[in-house]
């Protein structure tokens, strides 16, 4: 399978805290690769480094063979790397459709254009609407994003990501903060995204992880302590120890 994302020997310290220790992992086209680990394991920091929010001290990141280790976040996004945030992140004053349409425009390098009406960009609107339909929220298109429920904002983030038609998609706890009645619906939507962009999925909800992941990597104290098929990881002693009897 073609490899779309390659992370090698990534290391990062915050002062005395070594949050990412020689982490290597890959993401193959079409797969869902889950990254799990206890609170503070360094999962978000890993996603921040891959997406360019935080620069690593050492190591290399490449997207489809192109080195992006030092590239700025916006350059990575235009190269096809989309992401969501652990804390919901949308453009609250824009309509839902404007959120997804801008995602398309930015991905296509049209977001800097000082001419033409943004709202009249048919291709962006059509692709945005298609993404909203896939995320089952086309009926919300005209609503202001800031007025959506928490679960709907989560859906919108996913829609913004797929509207960009990314090569790789980094999801940082897409279920975080969603109510118990919203979780099954979000898992279904995530399942519907399988087979498209390769997905690096950070998630605490083990039901979701085992329902979606083709591969699982376990992070503890910044280090990869296990990686492989879901069943093998589930049986791994080191993983059980890291979670210390937590429901796993």
């Amino acid at each position: 399978m073609a490899e779309v994302l390659h992370v090698e020997g990534l290391s990062k310290t915050f002062g005395a805290l070594w949050v990412t220790r020689e982490v290597s992992l890959t993401l193959a086209a079409g797969e869902v690769h889950a990254v799990i680990g206890p609170n503070g394991a360094g999962k978000t920091t890993l996603i921040h480094q891959i997406s360019g929010v935080v620069l690593p001290d050492r190591g290399r990141i490449s997207l489809r063979g192109r080195d992006i280790t030092r590239a700025r976040p916006e350059a990575r996004a235009r190269a096809g790397l989309a992401r969501s945030f652990q804390i919901t992140s949308v453009l609250p004053e824009f309509s839902v459709l404007e959120n997804v349409a801008l995602s398309v425009q930015a991905r296509e390098g049209r977001a800097m254009r000082p001419w033409g009406r943004a709202a009249a960009d048919r291709e962006a609107n059509a692709r945005g609407m298609a993404a909203l339909e896939r995320m089952a929220m086309a009926d919300r298109a005209r609503r202001l994003a800031g007025t959506l429920s928490h679960g709907e904002k989560r859906q919108l983030e996913l829609a913004m990501a797929i509207a960009a038609d990314p090569v790789a998609l980094l999801l940082d706890e897409p279920l975080a903060g969603a109510g118990p009645e919203e979780v099954p619906r979000l898992i279904e939507l995530l399942r519907g995204m399988k087979g498209g962009a390769a997905i690096l999925l950070v998630e605490h909800d083990m039901e979701a992880v085992f329902a979606l992941a083709d591969r699982i990597t376990v992070l503890a104290e910044g280090r990869v302590i296990a990686s492989g098929q879901p069943d093998a990881v589930r049986a791994d002693e080191a993983v059980r120890a890291a979670y210390l009897g937590e429901d796993f």
Binding site: R72, F94, E98, A106, A111, M112, P114
Partner: protein
């Protein structure tokens, strides 16, 4: 039609002023109206970066000052043609915005405010140190700027109409720009920079572009101001002037463009009105503004939007 009512209503008011039968007072009223429009032009351009873009620039009087000194410099050289004057004003303001923006945009929050102020102060002191243009005393304008030999900026009606044309054009340019993908990106960056960047929007390029456009428009206001007073001095670019422009934008309702015009009207009229009674008008004006800013959600434009 939505979003056009307030600007059209204001356009009607501005267009009607020269037609009012005011007799002897007509000249004074037109002068005041023109002054409002000149400051409104600068305020609208500031609203593009401050209101829409969320960039709290405390140095927007600098491009205005540069526009005024472009008039002085060419007057000294015996040139009064609008084309060379505008070319110089726009070039100075554009280069200023590019250089200072590239530095200031690397900072955030209070640092951005302070650094834009610092750059504007540099222009303020620099203009005051040029003996050729009168130093801090200022420079009395020899000949007002002419367009193809026409006295478009000379007393009364011509100046009033020119100021109106510049204001309308500036408003339309800013408004059109905000509707483009560029404008959408600028607003997106204000709402949530991290999200906008994760989408692929380059914050530096977008914001720098907006600062350049705002600076160019402010320099036009500077050219008009120099001609209105027949006098050019560093005082046009004092920090108080920058603060005044910010007040206009905030009072009118940041981000609405037409609010900036309302804000400019209120500020100029209040200054004029209070100035008649006491020279300590800022003492009254300051608290009025604070109360207005606290009491008016979305400024005057927000009040208009909620009417009825």
């Amino acid at each position: 039609m939505k979003g056009w009512r307030l600007p059209l209503a204001m356009l009607l008011v501005f267009a009607a002023v020269p037609l009012l039968p005011l007799g002897r007072d007509s000249g004074y009223v037109m002068l005041l109206g023109a002054r409002i429009m000149v400051f409104a032009t600068a305020a609208v351009s500031l609203d593009l970066i401050l209101g829409a873009g969320g960039l709290v620039s405390f140095g927007h009087a600098a491009p205005l000052l540069l526009g005024a000194y472009a008039v002085a410099a060419l007057d000294k050289a015996g040139v009064d043609g609008a084309l060379p004057v505008l070319a110089l004003a726009l070039a100075l303001a554009g280069i200023y915005a590019l250089l200072t923006g590239a530095v200031a945009l690397r900072t955030r929050g209070v640092n951005f405010i302070m650094i834009t102020l610092a750059f504007a102060q540099m222009v303020y002191f620099a203009t005051g140190s040029i003996p050729d243009y009168g130093g801090t005393d200022g420079y009395p304008l020899g000949e007002r700027t002419r367009l193809f030999g026409l006295k478009v900026l000379h007393d009364g009606l011509p100046f009033y109409l020119s100021a109106l044309v510049v204001l309308v054009a500036s408003y339309l340019v800013c408004r059109a720009l905000l509707a483009t993908p560029f404008g959408r990106s600028l607003v997106a960056l204000r709402q949530n920079e991290q999200r906008a960047r994760a989408m692929g929007i380059d914050p530096l390029r977008v914001r720098l572009g907006a600062m350049v456009v705002a600076s160019l428009i402010a320099s036009l206001a500077g050219v008009l101001l120099a001609n209105e007073s027949d006098f050019i001095s560093p005082a046009y670019g004092a920090w108080q002037r920058s603060a005044e422009l910010m007040v206009m934008v905030l009072l009118g309702g940041a981000g609405s463009l037409s609010g900036a015009v309302l804000g400019a009207g209120v500020v100029v009229l209040l200054e004029e009105g209070l100035g008649r009674f006491t020279q300590h008008w800022p003492l009254i004006f300051g608290p009025v503004l604070v109360l207005a800013a606290l009491g008016l959600r979305g400024g005057l434009a927000g009040m208009w939007a909620r009417r009825g």
